[in-house]
């Protein structure tokens, strides 16, 4: 187990370094940053001054090492627009995005897991078909469009929920719903196929032959085994939710990390964009690592490798 943890940890670190390099290079490949900061009407001298001031005249490798060195010391740089440091900005925005992602994923699991299990108990039954139809619908709808529909219906037509911002729990209902509907189909399908396989297994027949009640057979014996791949996917889905927050937070006007990224890209606030890419990458790696740990915890065969 210890070796497994160490190996996964090393792997995660390698991925984080790779993400930081790719993010850094891509941002600089997107155009002349000095020119963008200075604006189209700036004088050539001013552009050059800005280039020197932000260190953009140095070689790419030096710039990266310089940036990485400061990041390792906890310094993510300064925003070109906000008075705060980038780290302060992220500390303010990240909890909103993570919280929303967790809410959405939680709701998706809460709906997807029981529905998937019920579908698997009577495959191809009426419930199963209805549930699958809903899942296909949820998967096919683009979240931004679904978000707009919900805003129109609940916010404008019924006028019972606020459509923008994140000041109270009522503001979070619609975005959570969108995230849940987008994520639930994956969880549901995985649960269903995993449970159908598990329920066919010989150990389920054994469990029944032991006289255990149906709930114990389904939950303790089948779901426990079916859950292993679901846990792995759920953690990765959380990463996708955080990454997808750019669109959702823009639609609902929520001041999270996604919205911050969107604003900063428009303003060429490159220290913020760069830091956001890094933070998202790190979150993804942490979630994958956690998923590996959970996987190992649930599957005793993996635990010993």
């Amino acid at each position: 187990m210890a070796r497994y943890v160490v190996r996964q940890l090393m792997l995660s670190l390698a991925v984080m370094v790779a993400v930081s390099i790719v993010g850094f290079v891509l941002l600089r490949a997107s155009g002349d940053l000095a020119l963008r900061i200075a604006g189209p009407e700036a004088l050539a001298d001013d552009v050059e001054r800005i280039r020197v001031a932000y260190g953009l005249d140095k070689s790419l490798i030096l710039q990266y090492l310089d940036w990485a060195w400061r990041v390792l010391h906890g310094d993510l740089g300064r925003s070109l627009f906000f008075p705060e440091e980038v780290s302060t900005l992220i500390a303010q925005r990240l909890p909103i995005t993570l919280g929303l992602g967790a809410l959405g994923l939680g709701a998706a699991i809460l709906i997807g897991l029981p529905l998937g299990t019920l579908s698997a108990l009577w495959p191809n039954g009426i419930l199963d078909r209805a549930v699958l139809a809903v899942a296909v619908l949820g998967q096919a709808m683009p979240p931004f469009w679904l978000g707009l529909l919900l805003i129109i219906f609940f916010g404008l037509t019924l006028n019972i929920l606020p459509v923008s911002g994140a000041e109270s729990w009522r503001h979070l209902v619609l975005p959570t719903l969108v995230l849940a509907i987008a994520t639930m189909p994956t969880i549901l399908r995985l649960t269903r196929s995993g449970m159908i396989d598990a329920l066919r297994a010989d150990y389920i027949r054994t469990a029944k032959a032991k006289g255990l009640n149906p709930f114990t057979v389904v939950v303790k014996h089948a779901l426990r085994n079916a859950l292993i791949p679901i846990v792995a996917i759920a953690a990765v889905q959380m990463g996708a939710l955080v990454g997808g927050s750019v669109v959702l937070e823009t639609v609902f006007g929520i001041q999270g990390l996604g919205y911050l990224s969107w604003e900063s890209i428009n303003r060429a606030d490159f220290p913020v964009v760069q830091a956001n890419v890094l933070v998202l990458g790190v979150i993804y790696c942490i979630l994958t690592f956690v998923s590996d740990l959970l996987h190992a915890f649930l599957d005793p065969r993996l635990r010993e490798q």
Partner: protein
């Protein structure tokens, strides 16, 4: 509950399953008894309905299966009309089941200890605290070395033979009156097979169990059975005490099976193994005549008609039109 009657009594048990070509009659009106402390072997080749018969007793049949019987009683209690709740009380408590594949019959993500203890906790709720002690004891009883350590191990830590011992220990946790063992040695190495068989016989004698053993292997049956029930095409074709069966097998199929046994006898050395030509009959639709007639070397026109009845003489039952005529004419 009667003390004299058989532990398990089955009369005219039928099981049918849905199929796109019509209903499959996996088991057709089979009858047999298992007496107290007795070992009964149901013998037959794959697809003859022997496992279905065993699973039908506890109503552990696949979805869509329909079972029917004139009688299905266990210790005097009618299992046919018993509610699912009552059946759950009997499963694992009064009747223990051992399955063929010890690798897949155990849950890969639960410890051996948990899988043993949960049966006990389920059926002996008032003695929950003793579940652990009991599990360790039973693991010892089935000859698993260092049982304490095994409690916290998972199935994949154990070899095939040890896993099957653990499955047997699990079936014995609640001191059942009967064990149903469905091909318990088939998936094991030959040397391990012998050990597991010896263990089963030993445990049966020690705990005074009745044993219903399902096997395709007459050699296995010959070593443990008090009574042998031969099934073919969903029917019982022969039912006799082991001694009577091996002294004078009467059904042509049973004789064919005996001829197929490999032997170390020097007389037969070098001769090819015998086989029964043909394949098992389709179980779809109604039956006319003898199920075995197409593969039988002695079949005549009388084998084509009606339903061949089980004929009985001195407790030896045979489903063949020639059975006792032949025996009596000798």
């Amino acid at each position: 509950m009667s003390d004299t009657g058989p532990v398990l009594s089955v009369r005219d048990l039928t099981v049918s399953l849905p199929h796109r070509m019509g209903r499959v009659h996996a088991v057709r009106e089979i009858s047999f008894d298992v007496g107290r402390g007795e070992t009964v072997c149901i013998v037959g080749e794959s697809g003859c309905g022997k496992s279905m018969s065993a699973m039908a007793i506890l109503n552990l049949l696949p979805r869509g299966a329909v079972r029917n019987a004139a009688r299905l009683s266990f210790l005097g209690e009618d299992l046919l009309s018993a509610k699912e709740k009552r059946l759950r009380e009997i499963r694992g408590d009064r009747i223990g089941v051992i399955f063929q594949e010890p690798l897949t019959a155990l849950n890969p993500s639960l410890t051996i200890g948990e899988q043993l203890m949960e049966v006990y906790r389920r059926h002996r709720p008032s003695r929950q605290g003793q579940a652990r002690e009991r599990a360790v004891e039973m693991l010892g009883q089935v000859g698993i070395p260092s049982p304490e350590e095994r409690m916290t191990q998972y199935p994949h830590h154990l070899s095939g033979g040890l896993r099957q011992r653990a499955v047997i220990a699990m079936a014995l946790m609640c001191e059942p009156a009967m064990i149903i063992a469905d091909e318990p040695t088939t998936a094991l190495d030959v040397t391990i097979q012998a050990q597991i068989l010896r263990l089963l016989i030993d445990l049966k004698n020690r705990f005074g169990l009745s044993l219903l053993l399902i096997t395709h292997d007459l050699a296995v049956a010959s070593r443990v059975a008090d009574r042998i029930v031969v099934m073919y095409g969903g029917q019982v074709v022969e039912d006799a005490t082991t001694q009577a069966f091996f002294n004078r097998p009467m059904h042509p199929y049973a004789r064919g099976l005996l001829g197929c046994l490999p032997s170390l006898d020097p007389e037969t050395k070098g001769k090819p193994l015998q086989v029964i030509p043909g394949t098992v009959p389709s179980l779809i639709g109604d039956l006319t005549g003898c199920t075995f007639r197409e593969r039988c070397t002695q079949a005549g026109p009388e084998c084509d008609e009606g339903i061949i009845p089980l004929r009985s003489l001195d407790g030896h039952r045979v489903r063949c039109v020639r059975a006792f005529g032949e025996a009596l004419s000798r």
